[in-house]
Amino acid sequence: MTRIALRAAAASVLLAGLALGGPRTAAAATHTVTIDAMAYAPATLRVKRGDTVVWVNKDPFPHTATAADRSFDSREIAPGKRWSHVARTAGTHPYVCTLHPTMKATLVVE
């Protein structure tokens, strides 16, 4: 490959990267939801598509974060453990702990 071809390839990769980045101005962020004393905090979390959400279980027993629309499901998060999820599905997603049906919260993906 010639130097020019290489440069063209590099430029197109760069352009493709910009195009994929689209309207997003900042890099994907990471948000934390703390599960403590039978509650999710914050109860409503707003994120951008592509952001990562980490649920941290601070209770001495397992919990789950399970979307009603099943767009995500942590399964059991053991005491002291965490579960990461990249939010790819835009919309308002109410979720519950399947082990403790009284625990409810919402993830909003914009």
Binding site: M38, P62, T102, M103
Partner: protein
């Protein structure tokens, strides 16, 4: 029926604090023993229900009680070990254990749907009573801040379990 009355009387005594009328307010070592006994009684009832319950919902609830109360007891034991507090048995912890054993004996004699209803009814009463005791006796009397904080932290678990048990109780009546 006598057993039920006896348990109810014991639980009522704990909730209202009349047990302490003679003995005075519990100290931290006694509170620790009460917490451990209260959780253990529900773990034992849950283990029985895991094997005896007919309904899948009741079985799953029982499994949850065993897991959650075991977790709470582990945390309570870790804390009292760290604080060098040796749980001290007292009238309340002993009567919790005795009424727990009586309940198990009564439940062992029941089968299928009858067992499910009796177990869930007992769970509703039990969590309500323990919650009252936590609010009226254990939290107000806990001296050590970490012990008090632990009681405050696990309180919502009792609330959630109570709501869950009430929900199942209503669905079993349908």
């Amino acid at each position: 029926m006598n057993t039920v009355r006896c348990i109810t009387a014991t639980l009522f005594a704990i909730a209202t604090g009349t047990v302490y009328a003679q003995a005075g307010a519990p100290n931290d070592a006694q509170i620790a023993a009460i917490v451990v006994a209260a959780n253990q009684v529900d773990i034992d009832a849950g283990k029985l229900a895991e094997s005896k319950a007919k309904s899948a919902e009741v079985k799953e609830f029982a499994r949850r009680m065993v897991t959650d109360h075991t977790g709470v007891n582990k945390q309570a034991t870790a804390l009292v070990t760290k604080l060098h507090v040796k749980p001290e048995e007292n009238a309340t912890s002993e009567s919790l254990k005795k009424s727990g054993a009586d309940t198990r004996k009564r439940l062992e004699g029941l089968k299928a749907a009858e067992f499910d209803r009796a177990y869930v009814d007992n769970e509703v009463t039990y969590h309500q009573t323990v919650l009252d005791a936590v609010d009226k006796t254990l939290i107000p009397n806990a001296k050590n801040e970490e012990l008090k904080a632990l009681l405050i932290k696990v309180r919502p678990a009792f609330v959630a379990h109570l709501d869950h048990a009430k929900h199942i109780q209503a669905s079993l009546k349908k």
